[in-house]
Symmetry: C2
Subunit: 457 residues, 2 copies
Amino acid sequence: MEQTKFLLDEKEMPTAWYNIQMDLDRPLPPVIHPGTQQPISPADLAPLFPMELIMQEAAVGPYAARYIDIPEEVQEAYRLYRPTPLIRARRLEKALGTPAQIYFKYEGVSPVGSHKPNTAIPQAYYNKKQGTKRLATETGAGQWGSALAFACRLFDLECKVYMVNISYQQKPYRRILMETYGAQIVASPSNDTNAGRKFRTQDANHPGSLGLAISEAVEDAMTHQPDTKYSLGSVLNHVLMHQTVIGEEALKQMEKAGAYPDVVIGCVGGGSNFGGIALPFVREKIKNGKKTRIVAVEPTAAPSLTKGIYTYDFGDTAQTIPLVKMHTLGSSFIPAPIHAGGLRYHGVSPIISRLYDDGVIEATAVKQNAVFDAAVQFTRAEGILPAPESAHAIRVAIDEALRAKAAGENKVILFNLSGHGHFDLGGYQQYLNGELQDYEYPAEEVKKAVAALPQIA
Amino acid sequence: MEQTKFLLDEKEMPTAWYNIQMDLDRPLPPVIHPGTQQPISPADLAPLFPMELIMQEAAVGPYAARYIDIPEEVQEAYRLYRPTPLIRARRLEKALGTPAQIYFKYEGVSPVGSHKPNTAIPQAYYNKKQGTKRLATETGAGQWGSALAFACRLFDLECKVYMVNISYQQKPYRRILMETYGAQIVASPSNDTNAGRKFRTQDANHPGSLGLAISEAVEDAMTHQPDTKYSLGSVLNHVLMHQTVIGEEALKQMEKAGAYPDVVIGCVGGGSNFGGIALPFVREKIKNGKKTRIVAVEPTAAPSLTKGIYTYDFGDTAQTIPLVKMHTLGSSFIPAPIHAGGLRYHGVSPIISRLYDDGVIEATAVKQNAVFDAAVQFTRAEGILPAPESAHAIRVAIDEALRAKAAGENKVILFNLSGHGHFDLGGYQQYLNGELQDYEYPAEEVKKAVAALPQIA
């Protein structure tokens, strides 16, 4: 019998997150206040986040440690769907005729269908613990909003989601899922904030953007103190730390499979699923001498690593939230309408940006049609229909397997299948009809946008 | 640590199906030819099914055995998603404040989101083995069509799906999923068969029905001999036998949980998911003296067991396919438009009908709003959004748990969560908006419809 799935018992689930900040050879650059252009203090962030998440973000106090115990209440909620399976894609290997072994970690088994609850759950937990009554957030395609709606329900918090208007119109199922969890959803720009009303006055049918929805959610939290806080689903250090359960599980599961990956692959938008699978393998590389290549895959339509510039930028388009040093296309970037909504962001997590700048990880950009080619090939071999975001990783995994075939190499490939595509079938239809466009964002635009940013010393 | 999930390794996956026909105290009544009204022979079925499935249906030849070895090729395909988890619904128990233990077997982890591949895979396998090139089938809401499209892809068979027109219009995502697997889908009634053209001539926008789609798929197979055969996703003996992997796994997993169910619950349409979970527990009851209650749950809109009559009826509305003795509402039954499309059928599997008639199993009927009440309560407790079909089982599981609470009983409840509801969010929206209707099918209509059937001695 050829083993296909490598499972962990609940008692083998990691009980600690990995805090890579302790293993960096120098600290991350400070986060900068948008008004003073000076490093922010924990107090500046206190209206938005509970203190334990702020300390995790900065790796200070009890969180100045390599391993952070996962609270029992969070572990209990994780056990609703974790540990997730590691699967060997034997049928895909056969279809490709490759000598390579292809493994994928499958995060689509979570109730909302992606890795996002891995951080939504602890964020809801720490907020509840500090007395927060209500969380406000933004969502694009709806993966993050669903995860936070689910987590808020588990910890009995109210949840308000500002959903980018065009997605609100085009993805009613994601909205209904959030409502089924009990969350309140509005199309962004909305009438519920000053930022929203301003844009609605200009255009009653404004399509919205993730940057604008962030501005609305942050304003909502700031104007509903002290009961409401804000929650972000990617980019930040504490978010990536929570996601390291993915990679920690994968390490144990690869051991059960009797193999160690030569290459680890994840798609990258803000960086949370990529960081989740990659950071524990980065530790093994920088601390324990493993030779693994670690590859971040982004769309050519939003090539923050491959064409972006490593500099200080804002997290939102309205340029009202703190600046971080990251690879960025410039916060004024307007992404093309690719189906991988979760990758349509101008920047990348500061941790991922640093690792890329230091040459610890690689990056590559792929086009939309090539991504859907890979998604359909994967679906037809393995059955699982991937999210368009995750299919970016599949594209590169297949390319690596084909290179191994050409070279006759028995390479071991691991990628993160961060979510399923059950709510993304509109994109598949366009692909099957031959109607999908490719987009390539020009480097000149990046230079112009970045030149317009404030210059932080 | 309170264990939540009870998993099996791949090597613990059942290697045999359970053939309950060998354990019945008398054989099932014969299947009757619609023309001669005499018992059919295997040769009569040979244009529609491969010989190994015909022998499984009749439990003859090598299949006159209690346990039927699962071919290695089928086991290998099962391992893409099996064994499936058994989960203890601890949060639901807490929300209900019940002393009862509630377990559910979760079949929604299959690539297409339901238990249907458990039989689609062996059906595709046996067809391939006999040289079939192409399978034709029907689908209502799309669960079965997706499963057969997936299975045909695994065994490199062409697949043609006649999809009930109203579902084809309302559920484009299910259609696109099937197309992604490479199947060809047409709205039924279609222009591709005489049966379809006849109804389209009467009404170009005919909404279609499952019975009509069956007639089209059967005609397609009959007119594309010898390359094409027909495939059915429920009702038949071999289908239920393939589904017993669910219950066999659940038996092992309940043992790991250190408990044995006092009551086993499944929703029933044609009877395949119910039979899948129930039949191994029926064996333990009738052969090994276990006291378990086994409860089939149907919608009040299609109450085949609770209001149907145990008599010979056709499987399709056009009354062209063989007659079986079953609990039926009459094959002229037109089901109300409930969201649980998989339960909108006039009859029930002959095996389930016999067990009900003999008093081995119980049945109950529940209303649509009560079902969605339970579905939303479950989603908010456990995170998983159930299919409306599966939510019928949840309704009764919750009712049992509340009765246990009132009586102070530490009852053990097991139900089958046969699929997720990612493609059924339209129904959730109607429920959340208070727009869902309840339907109760009147017993007088059943009597009239059954009186019009041919009387088989």
